[in-house]
């Protein structure tokens, strides 16, 4: 469970590109807590498919533009 998932993401980068959106604001939009957004951005937590789609749709990009599998 404590193993870091082999998935990287561009959530922080996309969030910073979208003005001054805070982690808490993104969390409110997606329906998770600020701590969960922090964990996602740090790569400590892989969100559910639903949350991943919500994040991608919010930024207007595809799922693979946000998340990528690290081999």
């Amino acid at each position: 469970m404590a193993r870091r998932p082999p998935i990287s993401n561009r959530v922080r980068e996309l969030r910073e590109q979208h003005g001054t959106m805070t982690q808490a604001e993104l969390g409110d939009v997606i329906g998770v807590t600020r701590q969960t957004i922090i964990a996602i951005e740090q790569g400590r937590y892989s969100p559910s498919l639903e949350s991943a789609f919500r994040i991608a749709r919010h930024f207007g990009v595809g799922l693979e533009d946000v998340f990528s599998w690290d081999e």
Binding site: M1, A2, V32, T33, T36, A39, R44, Y45, P47, S51
Partner: protein
């Protein structure tokens, strides 16, 4: 710090305070019986009251500090954390109960069985709150 992590700290504190009170009273009573004092309802009742009062006051305090977070439902990561913590707690409690049953088979003491199961309940709950805090701070 997330509200649920604060809540886990409050519950851990209330459990530790209650356990110190309870087993302190049992230890103090035991020399009078020249053996382990039998469990009594009033001491258990006071333990429960201490637990409830500290937990309520603690939760009022942390909810006052962050009322918005206090009303939020658990999100997907928190549900995973709670699930894992419950799993750990169940295992710890089960191990404690089996150990207590083993002690009963060895010593044939119902009092010891009661205290063993009671302590297992407390340790199991502490394991749950400890696991929650650990997972909130590390990973899921």
């Amino acid at each position: 710090m997330p509200f649920q992590e604060k809540s886990a700290w409050v519950m851990s504190l209330s459990l530790v305070l209650g356990a110190v009170f309870y087993f302190g009273v049992v230890t103090a009573m035991s020399p009078d019986f020249s053996r382990l004092a039998p469990p009594t309802l009033p001491v258990v009742a006071v333990f429960t009251m201490v637990l409830i009062i500290v937990a309520i006051l603690g939760h009022i305090a942390i909810a006052a500090l962050s009322p918005k977070d206090a009303n939020k439902p658990l999100d997907e990561r928190e549900r995973k954390i709670f699930h894992w913590a419950g799993h750990v707690s169940g295992n710890v409690f089960g191990l404690g109960v089996v150990s207590s049953l083993g002690l009963y088979l060895l010593f044939h003491s119902g009092d010891l069985l009661f205290y063993g199961v009671f302590a297992s309940l407390i340790i199991g709950q502490l394991a749950e709150y400890g696991t929650r805090i650990f997972l909130y701070r590390t990973s899921v």
